[in-house]
């Protein structure tokens, strides 16, 4: 059985969705919790159309029912977790009747969902950015973990919490320590031991010991001058970050902006120096997917002009700043540095990656890799900790002036800001422009026809865009993507962030629509 929440899998992770659909054809149950009746919901045995930003109330109510009706996995809770009492106390404040008001679904539907979840083992919970891109994103994630621990669905194949990573190598970029708080392999920069290890490996002294800035802080630092130089590698921040006007003001404020990319884009306009990089299939390397599988990427074509591999560019800068690095290919970087320094990756060497790759943790070279984590309820920190969380509404909710909620995401034929897919023959023919998806109810109310141009505005900006009248979208909601610059949803989105992760609330802001 699957519980898919905040994930438009058939469009954002199409091939993963095929395996869910296959399981449904073979008799697995599928519950989809999502404001939109997106295509995966057509395959679901139950679609719970919760309101945007009501996930915690929904999950707390599910757990309320599971505890009240004695349907949870007591053996797992007793032997593998702590703080059940704290969780119980909190979720008892969320009877289905209360959650129903918040979520916009009936109390009986919540009870039904809870009973179904308790009826089968294992249940795999899949989520995507519908969970994380909220001011309560971190708490949303904790809720999913609470639910799966309560159901005893952790540490088993086809169970667990399965976040589908948005980008091909977002898992890998984390594993590599492209994060302000950890070295490669999640070793904290605040740990003296970890610093000593990397100082030794890199032949340097005094590695910085406090956590660095996260992206929104960096960008704010451009305006107040705390950040004087900003180096953007392969990101089109001018289109992808919430509130484009604010972002462009920040980028324009940069004293010295370096962009390293394969195409000129809306962000490189602000650069002082642009480095041309080799693209996918123009150099060898590895990607790590959502299942922590490290797979090879191979060279098929020559990079154009003087474009060079990214690792080479960083190495040249290091050299000019006084460090001569030995590794001179992606393979040498992996085999001689990464897999030596990151404990989870020690057993992964290029020679072992010829076929289907290896899933970390893979601690030694005879290890077959690890298909799923927390086996037999053994969590990284020992026992699984229940962390009760309170529901909080999005930072900006509809009001009289801006009566609709805007939620955003990706569509099937394109990827992010179309720097890649917009340049592939045929993909623009499949989807050539942005639309604002609205419900037939609202369209009728406002006399908007399918394909009519409408104006969508928020407190931050406005776009002219074609209306796409679809019953995928519930009354009161507008749904848009960020693939096309002119009608990019990020002219409208709210730069309000989760206080811990600083993830922006792309999934909820208030807008108005006018014909």
């Amino acid at each position: 059985m699957f519980l898919v929440i905040g994930s438009n899998m058939t469009e954002a992770h199409p091939v993963a969705a095929t395996f869910v659909k296959n399981a449904v054809l073979r008799g697995a149950q599928l519950i989809v919790a999502d404001p939109r009746k997106h295509p995966l919901a057509d395959h679901a045995s139950l679609h719970v159309p919760i309101r945007v930003g009501s996930d915690i109330a929904f999950i707390n109510a599910l757990m309320h029912v599971l505890i009240k009706e004695d349907l949870y996995d007591k053996a797992f809770v007793n032997s593998c977790t702590v703080d059940f009492d704290k969780l119980k106390e909190k979720v008892m404040e969320y009877p289905p009747e209360r959650a129903a008001d918040i979520c916009g679904v009936s109390p009986d539907m919540i009870r039904d969902a809870a009973r179904r979840l308790a009826s089968v083992k294992p249940v795999m919970l899949c989520y995507t950015l519908g969970i994380t891109e909220h001011t309560c994103g971190r708490n949303n994630v904790l809720s999913t973990a609470n639910l799966q621990m309560l159901l005893g669905n952790m540490g088993v194949e086809c169970g667990g919490v399965n976040p589908l990573r948005g980008q091909n190598n977002v898992q890998g970029a984390c594993d590599m320590g492209a994060l302000p708080n950890v070295f490669p392999g999640y070793q904290p920069v605040t740990s003296a031991d970890a610093r000593a290890k990397f100082e030794d490996a890199w032949g340097v002294e005094n590695l910085p010991d406090k956590n660095g800035l996260m992206i929104p802080q960096m960008m704010e630092g451009l305006v107040d001058g705390k950040v004087r130089a900003f180096y953007i590698f392969g990101e089109n921040l001018a289109n992808t970050e919430p509130d484009i006007r604010k972002v462009e003001h920040e980028l324009a404020s940069a004293e010295f902006l370096v962009c390293q990319d394969i195409f000129p884009n809306e962000t490189t306009r602000f650069a002082h120096v642009v480095f041309p990089a080799a693209a996918w299939s123009e150099n060898d390397g590895t990607f790590t997917n959502s299942e922590r599988r490290v797979s090879r990427v191979r060279t098929a074509s020559k990079a154009p002009g003087q474009a060079m591999p990214n690792w080479w560019i960083f190495k040249q800068i290091a050299k000019r700043m006084g460090q001569d690095w030995a590794s001179d290919s992606a393979r040498e970087l992996w085999d001689n540095e990464i897999s030596v320094l990151a404990p989870q990756l020690c057993g992964i060497k290029y020679r072992r990656l010829e076929g289907d790759g290896l899933q970390w943790p893979c601690p030694d070279e005879d290890h077959p890799g690890t298909c799923f984590l927390h086996k037999e309820g053994q969590f990284t920190c020992g026992l699984g900790v229940f962390t009760p969380v309170e529901w909080t509404p999005p930072a900006e909710v509809p009001d009289e002036e801006y009566p609709f909620v805007l939620s955003t995401g990706r569509r099937l034929a394109h990827y992010h800001t179309r720097t890649q897919t917009g340049r592939c023959e045929g993909l623009n023919d499949i989807l050539g422009e942005e639309t604002a998806d609205i419900s037939p109810f609202d369209a009728a109310d406002m006399k908007i026809g399918h394909g009519d141009m409408i104006r969508v505005s928020s407190r931050r900006g406005e776009v002219q865009v074609k209306a796409n009248v679809t019953d995928q979208v519930p009354k009161g909601m507008v749904w848009m993507a960020f693939h096309f610059r002119d009608a990019c949803a990020n002219w409208l989105t709210n730069p309000a962030f989760d206080p811990v992760t600083l993830t922006a609330e792309y999934k909820a802001c208030a807008v108005r629509i006018e014909k």
Partner: protein
């Protein structure tokens, strides 16, 4: 003989309960030819090319849909089986535009036939899958030659009206693999078998073109097609199997990490297919994975370092651009310390690039101001 044994071509072999004859034979290395069978989907027995002889049975049975029974005596290449397969192949070859199997027997009819097909096809080229066609392969294997003749039925015109997939009904053998791929593998439910008898055709609901249907252009049907009835528009007549090298790689789009085969001709990717039986995607791809590869050849690519001067970019050498960046970074570190520099890595690029960038920031610049879009 024990409960899990049967006799295959005179050899006693084991099988797992529930296995078909085809699966059990494949498990012990005996190949049985198939056309309509698509691994992992329910068998139809439609094309009958996989027939085998079972002792005691009057008729030949389709191995893809017949379960093995203990003690069963099966022959996979008996004279009776071979005769039947030749007959089936002959029928398939004469049913459409499959002249590639005819060696040295061209005549006027063939030319006329070919011209007629080409009118629909809008192409004067050799069959786009010549050399990579299951039917062609089997025709050679069983040495089937057909007498050239006019087409035995009228064909539906080819469908070219979408950006990705060409449907050439003159080459369709109605095996139904595309339907299985769409309905049981990708579960998009965009196509099914329509009309009857001589009029049979793979159709979308209402027989509308793919672009006006529920088709999402994943191209699973193209990968499943054993003949030249479904081909990639971008690759047609450019891709030839004997001119291309296949390179396995990982898709550059979402976090699933599908394994792709890049079909590379003269240093250029001309087609992409899924790696069959590979993890995690088992041969499947989506529209971006299959058709989203040619951005790297765009004329818009950045080809040289650029430096801003008087509010415009000018081309620069690597040395000049790198020197400038290093000099500026050193100046800022000297004046305000390393934390006045910040960087964002790329979640699209390879691990080794992200490793190298965070190393530059930590070990060289001396700051932990390195992040990427992980939490969005």
């Amino acid at each position: 003989m024990s409960d899990n044994m049967f006799v295959l071509n005179g050899r006693e072999v084991s099988f797992d309960p529930g296995q078909t004859i085809l699966e059990a034979a494949e498990a012990c290395g005996v190949q049985i030819p198939t056309l309509c069978h698509l691994k992992g989907t329910t068998p139809t027995g439609e094309c009958r090319i996989c027939v085998v002889e079972v002792q005691g049975a009057d008729m030949l049975v389709t191995s893809c849909s017949t379960p093995v029974e203990a003690g069963m005596q099966v022959k996979t290449e008996s004279p009776r089986v071979v005769t039947e397969r030749k007959k089936i192949l002959e029928q398939l070859l004469t049913s459409g535009n499959h002249n590639c199997a005819i060696s040295g027997s061209d005549n006027g009819n063939w030319t006329e036939f070919q011209l007629q097909v080409q009118k629909n096809d809008a192409s004067s080229e050799l069959c786009p899958v010549w050399g990579d066609c299951k039917l062609q392969e089997l025709a050679y294997q069983y040495q089937v030659k057909i007498t050239p003749s006019s087409p035995q039925r009228d064909y539906y015109p080819s469908e070219m009206a979408n950006p990705m997939i060409i449907r050439d009904f003159s080459r369709c053998i109605l095996c139904g693999r595309c339907i299985k791929a769409c309905n049981e593998v990708q579960v998009n439910r965009a196509i099914s078998m329509g009309y009857e008898g001589d009029k049979a055709k793979v159709v979308t609901p209402g027989d509308h073109p793919l672009s006006e249907s529920d088709c999402v252009f994943c191209g699973e049907c193209v990968q499943a097609c054993p003949v030249g009835a479904l081909v990639e528009k971008k690759a047609r007549h450019i891709w030839r199997p004997w001119e291309t090298e296949k390179i396995r790689t990982t898709c550059p789009y979402c976090g699933v990490g599908c394994q792709q085969l890049l079909h590379v001709k003269d240093g250029k990717i001309v087609k992409v297919t899924g790696v069959e039986d590979a993890e995690p995607n088992q041969g499947r791809l989506c529209v971006k994975g299959r058709f989203g590869y040619d951005f790297i050849y765009s004329k818009d690519r950045l080809k040289t370092p650029l430096i801003r001067e008087n509010n415009e970019f000018r081309e620069a050498s690597w040395d000049e651009a790198l020197d400038l960046v290093a000099r500026k970074f050193k100046e800022i570190i000297r004046e305000n310390g390393p934390d006045a520099i910040a960087g964002v890595s790329c979640a699209r690029s390879i691990n080794e690039d992200s490793y190298q960038m965070q190393k530059l920031f930590r070990a060289v610049i001396g700051t932990n101001n390195i992040d990427h879009c992980a939490r969005t």
